[in-house]
Symmetry: C2
Subunit: 315 residues, 2 copies
């Protein structure tokens, strides 16, 4: 390029897409290292018919992770009227990029985890960020749940003191199974449609979303390392399979991202990589009163302030 | 009652409800006998807050059936506006009775089966029947699939020659996973809103629905007996767990009955008794070309005329 040509304009979407791509690389390395370093994520690259595509990475049969997925995508095009309505899009023309993550560990003593960061632009110029992370222990370790929330709260506080309380409550509402009257796990944060300009500058919102991605990688890999070698029983493994059934119920019947993806013709294997490698459903199974399983079930409710010591149950 | 008193008026809903109850008894006996007779269905009776209730019966750890459910309910009340819209109800006041059945056998060589018969009355006087049955083999046995469709076709033909082709096509459309581009199994029949008076007399439609229930009991218990003792391999059991994952996908993400039940506050354990006892999801698993698993997958498509010999694939 000669010196007289103007530098090419780097659009916001290019900047976010590039960060998402690098974040996927970084996160896969973090998780591989926490898994023990002997098993790698395998990548499938795919193209989106409208434009763009993605890199779906899955680690199966790891030392800690039985099945883990870290999916990057950056897609654009024109969505159907129905899809635009579902997604509250101001315009059917869109650009979307994000990284979506679900980890299913082998051990019932290592929690399932989920994280998602995403950025949308509508053809009318509106742009917004969304994201969240949440932890689904098979057995709730109250101290660890508090530590997890503390990490998130600290990151939120650096960006906006209102974020943690607002987005923690949003997660309580979102990661909830009404037909079971229980939360998916101990929650975390969830946020959507953080509008560029209206809710903060592009730089501020983007910095927050980057921090959300990083706190997930740091805190979940720490939990993996901390819990991976704890011995467990076949009864505990059994309870894990039942709790994974609830996870599948949430993802298939309730999760808006999954439903939106399936209904709008997304790549099925990338969307459903979040499903557990194995799970079980028994008719009307109830944990025995006073058992550790019953104790966990008591923590699966909205409105618990995990930052307090000891956390106060809303029972 | 003295001779001069008039006989009490027996309403249609009472007649249908009573048949549904007896049908549940009969079907449980048929299935228990085909299972080997040593394990019984266990019953949970429950009350509906609006009015009525149900008897959910589940057989677990049978000789042939790993988990089988036969649920009867007769409920009435006033549904929410949202529920009335979902169900295309002409009026939120309703009476509904039915029997719903899903069987998950142990052996991968015994197909999963489903049957449902139902009767609705709206408070404005409109009344209708619905129902259906379908077979989900883990490995498609073309002869058995043909025999199953022949039994259904013969019963339909006695009532209305248009029923089988119409309702078979309806089942192809209904028991379909768009995100997998595959049918749930080899299908059967599905019908809804057979309106009393408009689509046939009450007696004629009710007789048809009874016949549908009976052909399910007779044909599925015959298939259980025929296939239960066939030896199978661990690879075949493995494939069953994957196919059961697809079954869970259908029921949780697509089945209107399940979604309606969960969204309107039905009894969760009765609704989700249809879920498989165990299942698996592997990322991007594809059967090896030329394998029996690949052969089965080729049969999982709409529009196959199973009555023809040999059945013609629409590939």
């Amino acid at each position: 390029m000669s010196i007289s040509e103007p530098l090419p304009l780097v659009s916001r979407r290019t900047v976010v897409e590039e960060w998402m791509r690098q974040f996927q690389d970084w996160l896969c390395q973090e998780l591989e290292a926490a898994d023990g370093g002997t098993v790698r994520f395998q990548q499938d690259a795919w193209q989106h018919p409208g434009g763009g595509g993605g890199r779906t990475r899955v680690l199966q049969h790891g030392q800690v992770l039985e099945k883990g997925g870290v999916a990057f995508s950056a897609v654009w095009g024109t969505m159907s009227e129905q899809a635009a309505q579902l997604l509250l899009m101001p315009d059917p023309g869109y650009f979307a990029t994000g990284v979506s993550v679900v980890q299913h560990p082998r051990s019932p003593l290592v929690p399932i985890s989920h994280m998602n960061v995403r950025y949308f632009e509508a053809a009318n110029g509106e742009a917004w960020f969304g994201g969240g992370l949440d932890l689904t222990p098979i057995y709730v370790d109250v101290e660890q749940a508090r530590w997890f929330h503390q990490q998130i709260e600290a990151v939120c506080a650096l960006h906006n003191p209102a974020y943690y309380p607002r987005f923690k409550q949003w997660a309580d509402e979102y990661f909830y199974l009404p037909h079971r009257q229980e939360t998916r796990g101990v929650g975390g944060i969830f946020f959507d449609r953080l509008m560029v300009e209206k809710d903060g500058s592009f730089d501020a919102l983007f910095a927050f979303v980057q921090a959300v991605g990083q706190v997930y990688g740091r805190s979940y890999s720490a939990i993996m390392r901390q819990n991976a070698d704890l011995p467990y029983t076949t009864e505990q493994k059994q309870w894990q399979l039942v709790r994974r059934g609830r996870y599948a119920e949430f993802n298939l019947a309730l999760d808006r991202g999954t439903r939106f993806g399936l209904e709008t013709g997304g790549r099925t294997e990338s969307i459903l990589m979040s499903l557990p490698p194995q799970c079980q459903w028994h008719y009307n199974q109830q944990p025995a009163p006073g058992s550790p399983e019953a104790a966990t079930q008591q923590w699966l409710q909205k409105g618990i302030n995990w930052l307090l010591e000891p956390p106060i149950s809303t029972c």
